[in-house]
């Protein structure tokens, strides 16, 4: 509309700015999760993710080497070592020898030990303990070190979440379970709905208008209504809780939208093609498979994306129809809710798990956005 006189606003920059602010606001929370998933436990706990690129100040607890490593130099017993891992650029600011006075001494300044002798921690993390008497005991001296750690990024969280095999943290099984739920629950309703939509769009029979109205009505029936009756039904016919039940439930719940979208699309296909095919002696099944299906690809894709996103992201249906007491068939959404309970403070695990679970829908979203938008428009604008 830029060519209309007067619409070229002098406030163009304000538009750019407000859109930028809006986008930033909308993007910010997700970016936070993404950045957090690459940070170490300590870094997440001590600085906000927006500071991930800057050094962060943390207080860490270390132990010196055990007394067995001490060497005698003249009349002094000396224990030397390095607190940080090799290659670390951390800079010590203060340190302490008791948990009550964590920052009692500046780096480089010697601290009196309780059992005699001194310890000195330098800025680079090297330390030296000296005493006239030999150090005793089996464990080293505890040191509380406050240091500036350089920014650090790691793939460790992803390794934990994806490959560790840890029963609470590992998402690998849940990932496959989710996939197992999602793919049949996406494909089967498409097949069922496509045939029904064709009948509703291109075949004449009594009661057709009523059926279409019923489908429109069922579009908004809340899922909540179906939970108890269907669970009862599944338990009584022996399906119980399991994949079969959840596939059937997703198929049933997805059908109204599928039929509605596909019928609306198929009705718009040119009548000539179908009538010509009929005249040429094609059977209805042939017309459907060879003409209607290929032409309806955009609508099929739209619905497939909807159903995929919905089944992948679903929690309620899986909770009710799939996940039994053993938890063998848990899905990612359920496991993340559990992690929220058990690992509420461990953001590195939570963020990574959540990011793993949303990454697949995001890829689908960006790859097939065109169809998603088309489906949305067909599904709601009348």
């Amino acid at each position: 509309m830029d060519n209309i006189a007067g619409t070229k606003s002098s406030l163009k920059w304000a538009v750019h700015l407000s859109v930028a602010v809006l986008v930033a606001l909308w993007l910010f929370p997700t970016v936070g999760l993404f950045v957090s998933s690459f940070r170490t436990t300590d870094q997440i706990a001590t600085s906000g993710w927006w500071k991930a690129l800057f050094p962060s100040e943390q207080t860490e607890t270390y132990r010196t080497a055990p007394p067995s490593d001490q060497v005698q130099m003249g009349d002094l017993y000396v224990l030397e070592g390095q607190l940080f891992d090799a290659g670390s650029d951390a800079v010590v600011s203060t340190y302490g020898i008791s948990s009550r006075a964590v920052g009692a001494f500046a780096a480089g300044e010697p601290a009196e030990l309780r059992n005699g002798g001194t310890v000195t921690v330098n800025t680079d993390g090297s330390y030296r303990m000296e005493s006239a008497q030999p150090f005793e005991g089996s464990r080293g001296q505890r040191l509380f070190v406050k240091a500036k750690f350089p920014p650090e990024f790691t793939l460790q969280n992803y390794a934990t979440v994806l490959f560790s095999g840890d029963s609470t943290d590992s998402l690998a099984k849940a990932f496959f379970n989710t996939l197992t739920v999602t793919i049949p629950a996406t494909i089967i309703p498409i097949v069922v709905a496509a045939f029904a939509a064709y009948a509703l769009a291109w075949m004449d029979f009594p009661g057709r208008a009523l059926l279409i109205a019923a489908v429109v009505g069922l579009l908004v029936v809340p899922l909540q209504l179906a939970l108890i009756p269907l669970l009862k039904l599944h338990l009584s016919v022996g399906i119980g809780k399991g994949y079969l039940g959840v596939w059937m439930a997703h198929t049933g719940f997805g059908l109204p939208l599928a039929i509605y979208l596909l019928r609306n699309y198929m009705v718009g296909l040119p009548r000539d093609i179908i009538e010509n095919a009929r005249v040429d002696g094609a059977t209805e099944f042939q017309i459907f498979v060879k003409i209607i299906l290929p032409l309806s690809f955009p609508a099929l894709a739209s619905f497939a994306i909807f159903q995929f996103l919905w089944t992948w992201n679903d929690l309620l249906v899986a909770l009710v129809f799939l996940i039994d007491a053993t938890g063998e068939t848990t899905v990612m959404t359920k496991q993340i809710v559990e992690l929220l309970g058990t690992r509420g403070g461990n953001w590195e695990i939570l963020a990574t798990a959540a990011f793993v679970s949303i990454s697949v829908p995001l890829v689908v979203f960006f790859a097939m956005q065109k169809y998603l938008v088309r489906g949305l428009l067909a599904g709601s604008v009348k």
Partner: protein, 333 residues
Amino acid sequence: MHPALLGLVTIVVGVGACVGYFYFSNIILDKFLFPPSGPNAGRNINRANIVRPWLFLLPALLALGLYLAYPVVETIRLSLTDRDQGGAFVGLDNYIQMASEPKFWEAMQNNMLWLFVVPAMSTAFGLLAAQLTDRIKWGNIAKSLIFMPMAISFVGAAVIWKLVYDARPPGTEQIGILNAIYVFFSGAEPQQWLTVPFWNNFFLMIVLVWIQTGFAMVILSAALRGIPEETIEAAIVDGANPLQVFFKIKVPQIMGTIVVVWTTITIVVLKVFDIVFAMTNGQWQTQVLANYMYDKLFRSSDWGVGSAAAMVIMLLVTPILVWNVYNARKEMR
């Protein structure tokens, strides 16, 4: 069997069974029952054409009937019976019991708040985003970024926003952005946002607004583009300023679409479950109907009251259902 393999087998069997059903039922119809040849060819073709629609519709009708229509009826029945008394008819007892529970009224109150705030804010932000992004070159990129939360699960969104709302003890560095900003500007102690009664509802609602704005934007943007340019040109020639053009020319012309967006989001709001379940589980006075119902069903195993709660949700949806059916029928004529 490995779950992945099991899934693969199911796809093959499930899809195979569906396609097989359609294929073979058509063959049986055309080749054996009513073959379009022989002395009764004409009559057979007509008969086949009467049967065929139902053949095509049968699986869908069965699934719809069993998974959506039957539960509506069954839920009404269950809401009038008591499971503990062996399913005896108890009239409206479940509803009376529900109405006597403060948690139910808390859920109702919160749901009303959700119903008012979320559709309004999503539609408003969506309209704003649609109007602004339509006028700039990088609008499409901006749109897809605002639209992106649509793909994120409610549970994923709950984690994302819990990180935003995270609170650390006073005096330590805040890792939740909201508290970091709050402490930085006010100097006060960090807040556990999700435990502050009444206002925590809004912190939950923001999550849904964040998700639904993209939806509103996409649809409203298409509607804005559909406005005939002459009307806008005429208004500008008559000396309308940009705000007047927007509110007096554009908005009235897309009112129908705004209503559709509003009602669609309203339905999502009525069913909202995951966000509350994952973030507060209804504690700190954030209960909503769907979560209340889940509580009744699977924690207290009270199917009667649970069904009654489901019926309340259904009742709230019904006006929109009737409106949609009415519109669809009007359109078909």
